[in-house]
Symmetry: C2
Subunit: 309 residues, 2 copies
């Protein structure tokens, strides 16, 4: 019998407000599954992809699952072969860490298949290689929370310094994903290359406040800190409904909102499931006005990350 293992990895929110490029968190339930099997012939082969509407590549040098596993096998100097089946649960290009979830699930399955030569934190190094292929940049603020769960800080990339942060109890996320494709290149090109010293200092104060708020489980401090003066002011212009939603949820007790990844998905943090549900109701009205179909997910922050099924 062929030995095979299937793993799940969750959706993630990267670029968490003032944590532009350095902070991400994981969502419950929503995610990708990858099944990996050992085979006798060497090399990696994607044998099946489902749920992608035929958009993802089977070529092993382009598929995020195989690129991630290949990086891991190289580190092990492993000579055998593997077959990979990818079951997408996440929409592509939505800003919910779709490519990261595929890479994370692939690595967790392959690592288990080989008897756990690596801990999950080490797998982040291989997953960023897949992000380099998928996104053109080896960013880790999706793959790290998808693997590890919870809030994850990427302090540095050279070398990678990944810090798992505490998740306050009762913190909920509402993810609002409008049916709209956003060009990632556009989204990157609107970023200012130069920031004023004043804005850089404001951003530092807010990320420092957000980290403190997570450690202290202080929802007030988290809320006051959820402000991005660097990426959001230009990126939000590309995202229909962004400011309308922010205004509409202002008085219901949500902690704050931001662009998930580079959008078009928007995340809203709330101090209870009840308020996260209110956000959903209001969100449906806002997107109706804007004239866009929308999928809305409510989730506690997922503190577990990717796992073998």
């Amino acid at each position: 019998m062929k030995k095979s293992i299937r793993a799940f990895a969750p959706a993630t929110v990267a670029n968490v407000s003032c944590g532009f490029d350095i902070l991400g968190f994981a969502i419950d339930e929503l995610g990708d599954q990858v099944e990996v099997s050992l085979r006798e012939t060497p090399g990696l082969e994607v044998i099946h992809i489902a749920g992608d509407n035929g958009k993802l590549p089977y070529e092993s040098e382009k598929n995020t699952c195989t690129v991630a596993i290949q990086a891991m096998l190289q580190a092990l100097n492993y000579q055998g072969g593997m077959e990979i089946s990818l079951y997408k649960g996440l929409p592509l290009g939505s800003g919910m860490g779709s490519s990261a979830a595929s890479a994370a699930a692939a690595l967790v399955a392959a690592n288990a298949l080989l008897g756990y030569p690596f801990d999950k934190k080490s797998l982040v190094n291989f997953a960023v290689e897949a992000e380099r292929i998928a996104c053109g940049a080896a960013h880790a603020d999706n793959v790290a929370p998808s693997l590890l769960g919870g809030f994850v800080l990427i302090r540095d990339y050279h070398p990678l310094d990944v810090i798992k942060l505490p998740v306050p109890k009762g913190l909920f996320c509402t993810l609002l994903h409008p049916h709209l494709e956003l060009n990632t290149a556009d989204s990157r090109s609107v970023l200012r290359k130069q920031i004023s010293l004043k804005d850089a200092t404001i951003q530092s104060g807010n990320i420092a406040g957000l980290i403190s708020g997570l450690y202290q489980a202080d929802f007030g401090l988290i809320s006051r800190s959820l402000k991005d003066v660097i990426a959001e002011p230009t990126r939000a212009l590309l995202i229909p409904g962004f400011y309308e939603l922010r205004e509409a949820i202002q008085s219901i007790g949500a902690l704050g909102s931001g662009i998930s990844g580079s959008g078009p998905t928007i995340f809203v943090l709330s101090p209870s499931r009840k308020i996260a549900g209110e956000v959903e109701k209001i969100g449906r009205k806002v997107y109706q006005k804007v004239g866009l179909e929308v999928d809305i997910y409510i989730s506690e922050i997922n503190d577990k990350g990717a796992y073998v099924i």
Copy 2:
């Protein structure tokens, strides 16, 4: 008998590396004392200043003690008068929060004299008014730690949002104060007004890492995070011995170094009193080579702040 109260407020390190403009901490023992007495005639009067070599002003609209107390009395709509004596323990213009310590001690004494109408955190609001007079900017990263002790984050100024952070046990500071006057205006003028997005992101990662390191009492993480890519690269050029000291202490187990305030004082953090002592020895050699007299202080991080004597 005339009622009078004397208070002490400690020296502080502001602009703590990647915490430029938002993070400060307090030092033990070294600091200023202020004695405040009630009197029948209204108004505030500085009746004595010692330890300043005649450099500080007696005029109540220019002295940091009276400006701070005046802001407090205005908030209380208090009509009585006070007499103030200031005993400087801190050198002026050294980057060790000299004006902040005077204002903090004055406020703690006057607040006690009036029966504690304010808690210490509220006093920060009045102390920044004194900083506006003394430094030309209402910065709070000296006055807040001088009042509250420990590491203090200034998340925002509008309104003031002051967050006390935990102090890891065993964390020591070596302060090296060369006998050299640095023009604060020069020190501010060398700051770049525009920062690259890349540097702003690196700084965010490091301040987020430093805050996490303080909460986790993780000396390794604190050490990796003590990097300032915004102010230090230009300011350090004005500070003789800065890079020589950094290089000389590289291999003895110190956590990192930075400019205290806007200099010329340098702070070095260490994971034990023993290593902080090694830093002192090496520091004496470095400044001898550079050709500057130096005062060196070793202190645990002061978690108590200003207090009534």
